[in-house]
Assembly symmetry: C2
Homo-oligomer: 258 residues x 2
């Protein structure tokens, strides 16, 4: 049985998604919950390798289960059993049976990330580790302009922490980049067909730096157009980033590949 899992977590409690020796990662914790239930190791394949501190409202992963006991034959049973074993900072929101060909990472068609800023003198305690605290002037219309400029198909090699060699294809399509303001809360919402390592944090960092009028929009454009930009990139803190949703193609109206 192949299971698709929709998973939420508070990133401030973990060293990121991906398994690492001697670190507490979300993947490790879910694999350990599976091992508790199944009695053997089961590999959890996540769609996005979120960094330490990055939150997920709906990460997606899949697992391939071998023979399962009759009482563990339903996805709902796995969901309950996993949640009973997991800490409250990680929750399986949904478990669905999917076809053998479903792969959380390779079948993902697009993703939405939200970057949250708090623009005020003081960061409210309940937003600590959940937003990037920005104070001082912020040019909101410049922010919207930058968001509009990066929408579309670009070579984002200037906005990834890895060298071009590590990621051969650095062209991505950002379907939309929205800037939403509600009081002191500003959200940058990125929807794209894929994201490079640190791409959202580097885009958010650059947009904010331009909006604070500390970077000339021209330097931003130089970086976006692949030239060696004259100033160092700015990576926004992990704590403001949320993986919101991952889209897969719908088959038979089920919303999942069967």
């Amino acid at each position: 049985m192949n299971l698709k899992l929709t998973i939420a977590y508070d990133g401030s409690c973990f060293s990121g998604w991906q398994s690492q020796s001697h670190k507490k990662t979300v993947q490790d914790i879910i694999e350990s919950a599976f091992a508790d239930i199944a009695g053997h190791r089961i590999i959890v394949h996540g769609a996005s390798r979120t960094d330490a501190g990055v939150h997920a409202l709906a990460q997606v992963a899949h697992v391939t289960l071998g023979e399962v006991s009759p009482k563990m034959s339903s996805p709902e049973r796995w969901q309950s059993a996993l949640n009973a074993s997991l800490p409250p900072q990680v929750r399986i929101l949904r478990a669905q049976r999917v076809s053998k060909t479903f792969h959380a990472r390779f079948c993902a068609q697009s993703k939405i990330y939200r970057y949250l800023l708090w623009h005020d003198h003081t960061l409210p305690p309940l937003l600590y580790q959940r937003a990037w605290h920005i104070h001082g002037p912020l040019n909101f219309s410049l922010m919207k302009e930058m968001a509009s400029i990066i929408s579309g198909i670009h070579d984002f090699r200037g906005f990834t922490a890895r060298s071009g060699a590590a990621q051969k294809n650095t062209i991505r399509d950002l379907y939309s980049v929205k800037v939403a303001q509600r009081g002191k809360e500003i959200s940058l919402i990125f929807h794209g067909n894929g994201f490079l390592y640190h791409m959202v944090r580097m885009l958010a960092g650059a947009i904010v730096h331009v909006a604070r009028e500390k970077t000339d929009p021209k330097d931003f454009l130089l970086r976006l157009h692949g030239a060696q930009a004259p100033i160092a990139p700015h990576t926004a803190p992990a704590a403001g980033l949320y993986l919101v949703r991952i889209f897969y193609k719908k088959i038979n109206g089920l919303g999942v590949e069967m």
Copy 2:
């Protein structure tokens, strides 16, 4: 100089507001920040003695400062200095100079508390320690009916954890009790001239118990009308409670007593 402080905190990090020996309380932490700055002890008088785990969006406190150095003569300076010394889980949102007669607790005219419920199978990790997780059927119209019944002037002795002897006057006026639903999030918003110890948590607990159809509304009414109710009271968990706002009479349009 008398200072009025508006304070927010993440209650999950503290043993409540009020100073206790060998416990980490919000009052202790703020007094320790004052001592760091002033070089001597300054007592912080809070308006509400929130329990361990209860959050505050805008607690109010006052302090009486004696002679202060010229560089510490402005409230803004105290705000910055305190925030620099406090952990990020406690923030001074505002500091204002007030008259000598201002007392955070005795001058408070009314308060708003919000009780947050999450009504779904699974509690999202980002709401852990911030909402009461309720699953299973919930009769929303019964919930609204109970909220409407408790509005107004009542003797709330059945909804306090202390005996009648400890609090002589147990009559309070609830100006409004609102029930607001937004998706899986349900808020109970209480605005009243005063609240007894554990009153909001006991009212929220009773309302939810009736809405889950585990308590007969008649028993709720018996308790509200002062009779010895036949069943034990239900105290909602601290983590769902937020102190939202405290109102003081306005003088000279300043919103503060000068």
